[in-house]
Amino acid sequence: MSLLTRLLERNLRNSGAGARRLYSNHAEEESSATKHEFADEEFRVLNLRSTSQATQQKRKVFKKEPVQPPRHQKMATDQDWSAVWPGPRTFQPSVVPLPLRQGYTEKGAPPPSKFANAELMKIPNFLHLTPPAIRQQCEALKKFCTPWPKGLETLENCEKRFPIEIKSTDYCHALPTIRNPEARRVTLNIKLSDLKFDAHAKDKFLRLVGDRYNPNTGILTIVADRCPLRKQNYDYAMYLLTACYHESFVTESWESSKSEADMEYYSFERNKSKQSAEAIINWGQPVEEAKKLNADHGFAQSVEQLINEGENVYNLGKYKEEVLKLLNISK
Amino acid sequence: MLRSLCSRLEPQSLICAVTRGMSAYSPHYIEAIFSKKKQLNLKETDEYIKLSHLPIKAAKNDDSESIFYNELVNKMVNYITKGGNKKLARELLTKSFECMKRVQIERMNLNPESKDTIIADPEQLLIKAIENSRPLLQLTAIKRGGVKYQVPIPVTEKRSYFLAMKWLLEAAREKERKVHLPEKLAWEVLDAAYNQGRVVKRKNDLHRQCESNRAYAHYRWS
């Protein structure tokens, strides 16, 4: 209902016969009219000491340098953009003809515009890599391309011929410097099966590289980031690989004089288990070295497995089977 | 006109103005109905359809549908709990249940012909004990004409359960140092389940007192 009255009211006011109003009397209107007349008159200034106008005007007025309107206003909408923005460059509000805005504001307020907006300058932009520009550059580069080397068609072939894999990362980042410290990091991957070892060397090599070797995938990973440049780090990683490989073939003099406690792994041959197992097999037989029965190879293996790999249900089950066989216990 | 508007709105708004307090849920969330039995009962009425639009609070971490769950037993555990150590409280009540059950099974073994009459389910025993020790009336002091009168007033259902459990627990905690709480609680519960023992006596005493003070009952209203 009230809406209707309001609409009516508005219509009355807007129509030519605006003199008649709802909810108002003439007296009030008149008084307000007189007030308005007073309000409209110029305020006269009482100038007692008339100073000369010239001295007043002498004061120098600061004049702003006229600023050119942004360049993009003159741009045609079908221009060649890659000619305007040929290479990587910091964001330039007067050149980019887009009404961009960026920044967080409280609810209701518009985000700051592109002019004098430092945030827009901080983030990287790909204005030089628009799809047409990429297409253009690819077209231009095509004539310099050489054919893909023969024999490297498949991934297996690549891996076979180049077993060492080098990884490094280039960063495109919002930083004051273009050199990201992470970019110098070089990661070297190689499958252990591509290196040739004997048993001792392999053991030593694995000890040297420690947890850089992943036994699940069989891949050795060397990460180098101690030098300031990527090239140096690459050289260092390659050096590490070479040095470790050759060092692993060196046998030290003290290695022959290790005692049982110093051994890296458990060996059935050297231990008490063998003695007791053989004593049980040869129980009641006269002691003759030649006739002595030897413990079963399967048993030896199961004991070694149990201790070297650690206990689990499978290893223990296997050990039990072998023991039953050794002691000749029937189910 | 505005004033009349406000006066029209006010009385109800006072009732309905829900203060959310510190709850993590909005006020229109309702408690979970986690028991299947209760849900089936609800299904028969048309309340169930209305519930489909309401958001439900998550079930508490001591609610469950398992065989060990009983509302009253849960409450009892909560009353036993001291300093938030609910695990211990539950263990204590379980031990007490075990104790009751052993006693009852031994009784069964002593005279096998009364096997069917002896209740050995500790949960039933506890419920029975609580039912037996629930008071109907209690006394409150009401001051009339400068004199305090002990006036009998009815106990709400909820409070009667509370009092019963509290009394059982108080009786169980009042013991020598050597006796453990579970044992003593088991004895008290067994006694109360057979309608004897200190807790039932306490209830009867209270009732007797109420009976003797029935003359003051009118002070409740005047």
């Binding site: 807007n14 309000a39 909408t77 221009q79 805005r101 960026q102 | 508007l5 971490n61």
Partner: protein, 397 residues
């Protein structure tokens, strides 16, 4: 009168006028504007000068009109700039400017200016000016400084007008009821408004409809008044009025989308629920169907939980859905204590089980509070207090 004028001037300063001309109504905003139209007053610049010519206009009014015109011009240039920018962008991206939509613009901007700022609103954007410069309340008084609305000085005229309207409706219904009673007819019970499955318009929506900010108490007053209106026997007579402020509630279970089970290597169905949270515990739960009832928690069986209560919690949804022994459960959970971890797993299992039970059971599980995430957390200790709520023992001296 002078005081009133001054208030009017102040209000003018606060409310920058935004003119809604028909051409500006975009698709996305059409709905909201439709709503706003009832309450926001329309003042067009063209309408004013007619009056201005005849009457002397106050300075405040002059400034206001000036500002309105400026704003209009500003919006016009903004719109032009946006149209040109859009063509430029289409050119840059090598696409056709005519078919370039707002979505394309957003994609192009995200490509050209990749920003990792967490808050998506703070990333670079190029939106139409209607979206960037939000609509505001129009002028509420005429050029003489007289408010249009009789309740202007309540501060929230539209809201109080609404309350007033509600009461008016109520009065009408009361009168009707009386007349009907005299005639001996009673309200039709079949036509009675059933408000189940409906709720009153939420506060934010009401605010945007009224173009006014209201506080919680006022909103409660509104809902209470509406509740009263609905409860009247003849309320169906003002069905349209009620409908305007009610919103249908969605079925709670239907709101949650139930994931489709995937198939694993053994050909069994499985569903994984990630982000199972309770207290500070966090985990993920996989339920496989059909199974043998094997439960794996962090590589252990259910003995991972020593307490009975925690074990009960883990089994709760399975018992409830009657799937104990029919599905396999694998859970990984970390953080928190035992009860929190059990709660997280319970929620995860319940959420995953939805895919393997019928709709009725899902609703039943929801009613059991199994599908609701438990948001309760430990309350912090407050300074000057012994704990979260408890105060220090107070001693007078």
């Amino acid at each position: 009168m002078e005081v009133a004028l001054r208030i009017g001037v102040n209000l003018l300063k606060i409310n920058r006028v935004c003119v809604h001309s028909a051409s500006r109504i975009t698709d996305s905003y059409a709905k909201q504007i439709q709503l706003n139209r009832d309450f926001s007053t329309e003042v067009t610049v063209n309408a004013a000068p007619l009056a201005v010519k005849k009457h002397k206009v106050s300075k405040a009014m002059k400034a206001y009109l000036e500002r309105a015109r400026e704003n209009d011009e500003f919006m016009k240039t903004q719109k032009l700039e946006y149209q040109i920018g859009k063509r430029h962008l289409a050119n840059m991206m090598g696409e056709d400017a005519e078919t370039f939509t707002q979505e394309d613009i957003d994609n192009a901007i995200a490509y050209l200016f990749p920003s990792g700022i967490f808050d998506k609103r703070a990333r670079p954007l190029m939106k139409s000016p209607e979206e960037v410069f939000p609509a505001r309340k129009a002028a509420e008084f005429d050029e003489t400084g007289r408010p249009f609305h009789s309740m202007f000085y309540t501060g929230r005229p539209n809201f109080f007008k609404l309350l007033y309207d509600i009461v008016e409706e109520m009065n009408k219904i009361h009168d009707l009821e009386e007349r009907m009673l005299r005639r001996g007819t009673r309200a039709d019970a079949n036509q009675k408004i059933d408000f189940t499955g409906f709720q009153w318009m939420p506060k934010e929506q009401l605010e945007s409809m009224l173009v006014e900010q209201i506080n919680d108490l006022e909103y409660t007053n509104f809902t209470n008044a509406m509740d009263r209106l609905v409860s009247l026997p003849f309320s169906y007579k003002c069905q349209n009025f009620i409908k305007k402020f009610s919103k249908p509630l969605l079925d709670q279970t239907k709101q949650l989308e139930i994931p489709k089970p995937q198939f694993d290597a053994d050909g069994r169905q499985f569903v994984t629920t990630y982000e199972c949270l309770r207290k500070t515990a966090r985990g993920d739960v996989t339920v496989r169907m059909p199974g043998t009832g094997k439960i794996t928690i962090n590589g252990h069986d259910i003995t991972y939980f020593e307490e009975l209560q925690s074990r009960e919690q883990v089994l709760f949804p399975l018992i409830f859905a009657g799937l104990l022994g029919k599905v396999d459960v694998e859970a990984n959970v970390e953080g928190g204590g035992t009860s929190g971890q059990a709660g997280a797993i319970r929620w995860g299992i319940a959420m995953s089980l939805r895919s393997f039970v019928d709709q009725e059971m899902v609703e039943s599980m929801r009613l059991a509070g199994l599908l609701q995430r438990d948001y309760r957390r430990r309350e912090r200790k407050k300074f000057g207090q012994e704990g979260a709520r408890r105060k220090y023992t107070w001693k007078k001296r």
